[in-house]
């Protein structure tokens, strides 16, 4: 009896004793969902990428906080005059975490496994980006151990930006072939962290790569924990069980801003949230109607009251910090009177009735239903009666291929800041749905021509000029109602030093040191 009592006391004490702080050198990150697959070439979700991209690296990359392309695993490159051949000189002496060497054939393997159906590793995964990113790649040819050439079918000036994508990461061919279908659970690359373990539903642990080519990594390991419930994630941060969380819900931002225990970082990501308009369907084929819709919506109110500062109003599709963004663009002001006048001019003095499709949730969709509800009431105020239909994300994407949409809410995360990566897929007429992502069915010959020309020009300054002209056309044409760019918010414990957010939504914990 006495022993049982003792045991009970010990247990109770164990339960109420304050939790110990994390071991030194271990960074604990709270994710909003569990990664599903750690091979960045196989997944489209942010959480998988945020973890997977610590293990593997790309030939070219973006520097901290900035977006011009800089050397990564390749130390330099040349582009042929016709823009069809990109030749990379690889860094020497780098090894994968499994000890095999990084070389030109590994580059060939990493890309060709995705695009060549006869490749031995092609059937080992589903590669969602194969066509979108590498559909234009004819072959990847090693010229020597440390030189490799990408041969393209058509010139594409944003190809370097494409090679910064997670899907363009270089993997260890030995590891892929050895692990087969199980490779995504234990990835092997050259990155700052090595994969260590994955307890399903609980944590993914990465250990530092002691031989990292860029220099020593300052933390010993990173532990990623999936915590879906916002309140739980926040509680764990505030009680010191987590060091860093991203995707802080809008409702908690003010509460965290005044909290002494945590720091907060904000940054506008390469993202755009728009209300698409079917440009081919009456009455939206009339530019005045589309402009009227833009005047009718109060974006400032959406950003302020619905997104609570987790978004910044957008003027066009291109994020303002991007090198090709036109600085002189003027946003459509909130002007219901002007909207009514334009509608009357277009022949709708008594307004009109239309349908708005909205997904319940979805990657990058912020608060789709709440945002759309505000838009709906804004439009009603100028006489546009909107029937809102909400749908499940997968069903919604499938339905948008029907071309029957009138108005629809959608967003885009390019993942890299190149105007081509936003404007071309979303607005070039060759990209009309169902084949491409131009779901607004927008077509303007002059705009198409500018974008195509920019794609074929390797001179960056000239490209910028062309993109700026294209953006002016867009503002005039108003193919969408421009709404916002997402502002990503991270909260972190005070012991976290040197953390920076990247506009690509990547989570580069390798820059962190712990106090």
């Amino acid at each position: 009896m006495r022993r049982q009592l003792m045991l009970a006391v010990v247990l109770v004490l164990g339960l109420v004793m304050p939790a110990f702080a994390q071991p030194a050198g271990t960074l604990v990150v709270g994710l909003v969902a569990e990664p599903v697959n750690l091979d960045p070439a196989q997944v489209t979700d942010l959480n998988s990428n945020r973890v997977g991209r610590r293990v593997v690296e790309t030939l070219v990359t973006f520097p901290e906080e900035k977006t011009e392309v800089v050397p990564g695993l390749a130390e330099s490159w040349t582009i042929s005059k016709d823009g069809l051949q990109y030749t990379f000189k690889l860094r020497r002496g780098i090894t994968f975490h499994d000890g095999t060497s990084f070389n030109a054939s590994a580059v060939k393997f990493s890309i060709e496994r995705q695009i060549n159906p006869d490749h031995p590793a092609n059937k080992l995964g589903k590669y969602p980006f194969a066509n979108y990113f590498f559909g234009n790649v004819k072959a990847v040819e090693p010229l020597s151990d440390d030189r490799v050439a990408f041969l393209l079918k058509e010139p594409r000036a944003s190809f370097l930006a494409v090679l910064t994508a997670g899907a363009a990461s270089i993997v260890s061919p030995t590891a892929v072939m050895k692990a087969g279908l199980d490779y995504p659970s234990a990835p092997v690359g050259t990155g700052p962290f090595k994969f260590a373990s994955w307890d399903r539903g609980q944590r993914v642990v990465l250990e530092k790569n002691p031989k990292y080519w860029k220099g020593p990594v300052k933390i010993e390991r990173v532990v990623y924990r999936p915590i879906v419930e916002d309140q739980a994630r926040l509680t764990e941060l505030l009680t010191g069980q987590l060091d860093l969380i991203v995707g802080v819900p809008a409702d908690y931002v003010t509460q965290l801003e005044s909290n002494q225990k945590v720091g907060l970082l904000k940054q506008t990501g390469v993202h755009v949230w728009y209300l698409g308009i079917n440009n081919q369907k009456k009455p939206f084929d009339d530019r005045r109607v589309r402009q009227a819709l833009n005047y009718a919506v109060d974006k400032q109110a959406i950003v302020r009251d619905v997104l609570k500062g987790t978004g910044t109003p957008s003027v066009g599709p291109v994020q303002p910090n991007t090198w090709g963004a036109e600085p002189g663009l003027k946003a459509y002001p909130y002007d219901p009177a002007r909207a009514k006048k334009l509608l009357a001019e277009a022949g709708y003095p008594n307004g009109l009735t239309t349908t708005l499709w909205v997904p319940e949730s979805g990657s990058g969709m912020q608060a789709p239903v709440a945002m759309s509800t505000v838009i709906q009431s804004n439009l009603k105020a100028v006489g546009v009666n909107v029937n809102m239909q909400t749908m499940e994300w997968g069903a919604y994407l499938a339905k948008l291929r029907s071309k029957e949409q009138e108005l629809f809410a959608l967003s885009w995360m390019a993942g890299m800041e190149d105007p081509d990566m936003v404007m071309y897929p979303l607005l070039h007429s060759s990209q009309w749905t169902p084949n491409g992502p131009n779901r607004a069915l927008y077509k303007n010959d002059k705009f198409d021509q500018l974008l195509t020309e920019a794609r074929h020009t390797t001179d960056q300054a000239k490209r910028a000029t062309l993109y700026k002209q294209a953006q002016k056309i867009l503002i005039e044409d108003a193919p969408w109602i421009f709404i916002d760019h997402e502002v990503q918010i991270a909260a972190f414990a005070k012991r976290v030093q040197g953390f920076k957010l990247h506009p690509s939504f990547d989570l580069r914990v390798e820059t962190i040191s712990l106090k």
Partner: protein, 316 residues
């Protein structure tokens, strides 16, 4: 008994078949294309068509079902579309966590509920009885996630006594004390609603038994009250109590989905939610099948318990 057992176990087959057909149909008839979700918004129509063909989604439903069933009977639940990992292994790993959580919650609600019920029954209309009646109404109508968050805010955020999520400390830890600490909040949350149901039913059953003649006889022959209540009354009230506890076991298994999500408990529930959101059909099918099997086995155990508790019940 062995013949009864064999018959019941054989009945498992049609039950599980039925469950699998329903789950299969619901998943395929619900809107949402797994290929669209896997590929994201930049996919071309060609990408989508290729992936659909690859996943066999274009075949008639009965062909898809037969193909899946053909693997299932060989013990192969297939691979998850997203994770690319064998479903059976994933589900079994997670099932352990779910069973631990459910069993703990069941123990809490049985012991707590029976104790509360007895106390109420022996002091009808006392303050305790009335408080417990109000608490029951509250408990039964309170959503699990709400209770979970309230407990989390009080015990983790404000008092700092207990961790808010997960099964073990993020790094290090891993021993029994660590596990117990993490188990308290989710288990109490999950037990919250069923403890009140068990208490109300125990009270009713006890009141009925306590009013019977043999209780008066027991008291008349001078037995101490404790012995009357526990030995004589409770034993006779046990069959309905065990029935409701059995029902609660199933309820807790289902309720675990929400509790697990709130507390990031790595069980089948969180896995299933993840699978449903991603329209990961093989994964969801595997989860449901394993949970259904567990549920049926729990029911069978309860049925067998009746015979142990009440010698008048015999299975042929």
């Amino acid at each position: 008994v062995s013949r009864f057992l064999v018959r019941r176990l054989l009945l498992l087959v049609p039950v599980l078949m039925g469950v699998s057909v329903i789950v299969f149909l619901v998943l395929h008839l619900a809107p949402g294309d797994p290929a669209e979700i896997m590929l994201g918004s930049q996919a071309t129509q060609a990408d989508r068509m290729r992936l659909r063909a690859d996943l066999g989604l274009d075949d008639p439903l009965y062909v898809q079902y037969a193909r899946w069933m053909g693997h299932v009977v060989q013990g192969d639940l297939g691979r998850s579309l997203w994770m690319r990992r064998p479903v059976l292994g994933e589900v079994l790993t997670r099932l352990k966590a779910t069973l631990l959580l459910t069993a703990t919650a069941l123990v809490i609600s049985s012991i707590g509920g029976v104790a509360l019920g007895i106390l109420s029954a022996t002091r009808p209309n006392s303050l305790l009885d009335r408080t417990s009646a109000v608490a029951s109404l509250f408990g039964a109508s309170m959503p699990v996630f709400w209770l979970g968050i309230v407990l989390m805010v009080i015990f983790s955020l404000n008092l700092g006594w207990l961790p808010a999520s997960g099964m073990y400390a993020p790094y290090g830890g891993g021993d029994l004390a660590d596990l117990a600490k993490h188990l308290v909040l989710p288990a109490v949350t999950l037990a919250g609603a069923s403890i009140t149901i068990v208490a109300r039913l125990t009270r009713a059953a006890m009141l009925e038994v306590l009013g019977q003649d043999f209780i008066r006889t027991a008291r008349a022959k001078g037995l101490v009250e404790r012995s009357v209540v526990v030995r004589h009354a409770l034993k006779n009230a046990l069959v309905p109590i065990v029935t409701v506890i059995g029902v609660q076991a199933g309820y807790l298994l289902g309720g675990a989905v929400l509790t697990e999500t709130v507390f990031a408990w790595p069980g089948v529930g969180t896995l299933m939610v993840q699978g449903i959101l991603a329209r990961d059909i093989p994964l969801v099918q595997g989860c449901v099948l394993v949970v259904a099997l567990t549920f049926v086995l729990v029911n069978l155990t309860v049925d067998l318990l009746y015979a142990v508790l009440d010698p008048r019940i015999r299975y042929e």
